[in-house]
């Protein structure tokens, strides 16, 4: 189960977050609060507004109204790059890797926001670039190795040749290398079979143990997948948050059963 902390402060808070596309309210006044070091599950059926929510947290969409506070600072109106620099890193449901590049190149770019050699060193002190690459590459491979040692030994392979599971692993490793304070995982188990899903969820739980201060927000449409790992879950349906609590609490919420599990 989840790791318990005595002292927690909220890392991310959304208030009245609303996104309107023309006549459609994709997200309607959602309030959420995620604590430091917490694994939080956001679940809901397809089209509930989960990915829209992520797109607002990362600056890809600008919310119609409402606010997103990351560590006491509003991030509304900031660019995705600025938000990434503030510590929010996401993965994508469709797994957006840089397809023409190798595993290692993808992972290295995860560290892009850290200090790195500038133009002068690139042109006139190239050995500095080399040592910088080597150091970061070693670190990158150490991260991906935890998921799958085969990926770490085949690091020059193009990511477009990898299986979906391996692409996900590379994508999550790349996100970890950006040293996020808030990691957003958009349906990490999409397209995986049950045993692969179990393994991945185990890996994610282990991440939490390795980086205890990092908060993780996981989107899933399959409730059972995150039942064992999320400390708190919130349920979205048609853009509205209908329940929040521990998994067992929301599981028995009649509204959730009606709206989501389809029970009558």
């Amino acid at each position: 189960m989840t790791v318990q902390h005595n002292f927690r402060k909220p890392l991310l808070t959304t208030t009245n977050l609303t996104m309107q596309f023309g006549g459609l309210k994709a997200l309607n006044s959602v309030d959420l609060s995620i604590n430091e070091g917490q694994i939080f599950g956001l679940i809901g059926p397809n089209g509930a507004g989960k990915t829209t929510f992520f797109n607002m947290l990362t600056g890809i969409y600008r919310p119609t109204s409402g606010d997103v506070i990351l560590d006491n600072t509003s991030i509304v109106g900031k660019t995705p790059a600025e938000i990434a620099n503030a510590g929010t890193i996401r993965t994508f449901q469709t797994c957006r890797l840089w397809d023409n590049m190798s595993i290692l190149e993808n992972l290295l770019l995860g560290t892009y926001m850290r200090e790195k050699p500038g133009l002068f060193q690139t042109l006139f002190q190239y050995t500095k670039v080399k040592t910088d690459f080597t150091r970061k590459a070693e670190e990158a491979l150490a991260v991906v190795e935890k998921f799958d040692p085969a990926l770490a030994s085949d690091y020059n392979r193009k990511v477009s040749e990898l299986s979906l599971v391996d692409r996900r692993r590379v994508e999550i490793s790349r996100a970890i290398l950006a040293r996020p304070r808030l990691l957003l995982l958009d349906e990490p188990a999409a397209g995986m079979d049950p045993s692969e899903t179990r393994q991945l969820m185990g890996d994610i739980t282990k991440l939490q143990e390795r980086y205890p201060k990092m908060s993780i927000l996981v989107i899933e449409h399959d409730m059972t997948v995150i039942s064992g790992m999320a400390e708190q879950v919130a349920i979205l349906n048609f853009g509205t948050k209908i329940a929040q609590g521990t998994f067992d609490e929301v599981k028995n919420n009649p509204e959730v059963i009606a709206a989501y599990l389809g029970g009558e």
């Binding site: 990362t58 600056g59 890809i60 660019t79 995705p80 790059a81 990434a84 620099n85 890193i89 996401r90 994508f92 957006r96 890797l97 840089w98 397809d99 023409n100 590049m101 190798s102 290692l104 190149e105 290295l108 770019l109 995860g110 892009y112 926001m113 790195k116 050699p117 133009l119 690139t122 042109l123 190239y126 670039v129 690459f133 080597t134 590459a137 070693e138 491979l141 770490a152 030994s153 085949d154 690091y155 020059n156 193009k158 790349r174 950006a178």
Partner: protein, 383 residues
């Protein structure tokens, strides 16, 4: 780099290619040239079919260091083989000048995925700034060249700005517009010489010696073009080193990332604005250097050397050779300079044949003659 193949195949392959190129350059007759092209094409197809091509390329890739030395030696010897034929050296020098421009263009087209048709205009800016400073103010080449490069870089930045909101085809359209605007401006300004161009551009001087002048050593006469050729080769070497370092650096990684996926790149803290403007500025600096070298080489600069056609030709060279592969870019440039020179009889069909080459390449080998590949890291104790 991992060394798992012997360099032998690479050596043999490079030597054959080199010999073929030398023979082709030496031949004057149109029909023999045509025959050689056919024979060469047949040879390449045979090599691909028998697997020798792949083996040779693998061998070259695994022995990059040795192969670079070999290529350097081959290149340095080449002008010496044509002591009695300055015209060939002239063509070769032109090809090397264009190589500098295409190395820059490759940053935009190959690395960052922005097909820029305005590289001819940046070439022109470098050439004109350098030529005007020389002709009107008498500045030496060693000042006008950096000035031309800087001017082209600034132009690149300025032209990069309107393209920021656009992508892919729309971006290319914007660059075409930029190419025409620069062309028309230079054509219509008085101080640029307008359609008459700028004549009498002086040659560079090193240690009191004018580059591009005939040297007589006893019974041997070294044609003037030879010294200029070696100077251009020195610049090409510098350009190659710079291009290679940029490619294998955080800049290159960022350009490849924004080429592959803009949204993903932004979510990892890459600034599209910054990366794209850097690609435009750096690429244009290369073009500016090439332009200045060209103007002082020919001694005359006019608008037809910076037209949209030049931009199109440069894009063809990059696509033919292999986007984001420096060796490929050089091969593409050499081919598209040397072959048309030998087939001057078909001059009228030149633009048509560029179009044909581009279409055929995009159908049969869209990745170019030498496709790009991921940067090969070799970490000790792994793999």
């Amino acid at each position: 780099m991992k060394k798992n193949t012997s360099p032998a195949a690479g050596f043999i392959f490079s030597s054959i290619i080199y010999a073929a190129v030398v023979i082709f350059m030496a031949v004057d007759d149109l029909y023999i040239s045509l025959g050689l092209i056919v024979a060469f094409a047949a040879g390449i197809i045979t090599a691909v079919k028998t697997g020798f091509w792949q083996r040779a390329l693998g061998s070259i890739n695994d022995n990059t260091g040795k192969m670079t030395v070999l290529a350097g030696i081959f290149t340095l010897i080449l002008p010496l083989l044509f002591l009695n034929n300055p015209y060939v050296i002239h063509i070769f020098t032109l090809a090397c000048i264009y190589c500098i421009a295409t190395l820059g263009l490759n940053i935009q087209v190959g690395s960052a995925g922005m097909v820029n048709f305005a590289q001819g205009a940046f070439f022109g800016v470098g050439a004109y700034v350098s030529a005007l400073l020389d002709v009107h103010f008498g500045f030496p080449f060693w000042i006008t060249l950096p000035a031309g490069m800087a001017a082209a870089g600034i132009m690149g930045l300025l032209m990069g700005l309107p393209t920021l909101k656009t992508r892919e085809y729309h971006l290319s359209l914007v660059t075409i517009a930029c190419a025409y605007i620069s062309f028309l401006l230079v054509m219509n300004f008085k101080w640029t010489g307008g359609p008459d161009g700028i004549p009498d551009i002086s040659k560079p001087v090193i240690f009191g010696m004018e580059i591009g002048q005939k040297i007589t050593l006893g019974s041997i006469t070294i044609p003037g073009v030879m010294t200029y050729c070696y100077m251009v080769l020195a610049f090409l070497a510098l350009a190659l080193i710079a291009a290679r370092r940029l490619q294998n650096s955080w800049y290159g990684l960022a350009w490849n990332a924004i080429r592959d996926d803009e949204i993903s790149s932004r979510c990892y803290g890459l600034s599209l604005t910054r990366s794209k403007l850097e690609a435009f500025a750096f690429g244009s600096i290369f073009a500016g250097a090439a332009g200045a070298l060209y103007a002082h080489f020919i001694g005359f600069m006019s608008t037809e050397n910076m037209s949209f056609q030049i931009g199109l030709l440069l894009v063809c060279m990059v696509i033919l050779g292999g986007m984001d592969n420096l060796a490929g870019v050089l091969v593409g440039t050499l081919l598209l300079i040397i072959i048309p020179e030998k087939l001057r009889a078909f001059e009228d069909y030149r633009m048509l044949s560029y179009g044909l080459v581009l279409i055929l390449m995009l159908i049969f080998r869209p990745e170019g003659i030498l496709p790009s590949k991921p940067r090969m890291f070799n970490l000790t104790g792994r793999g």
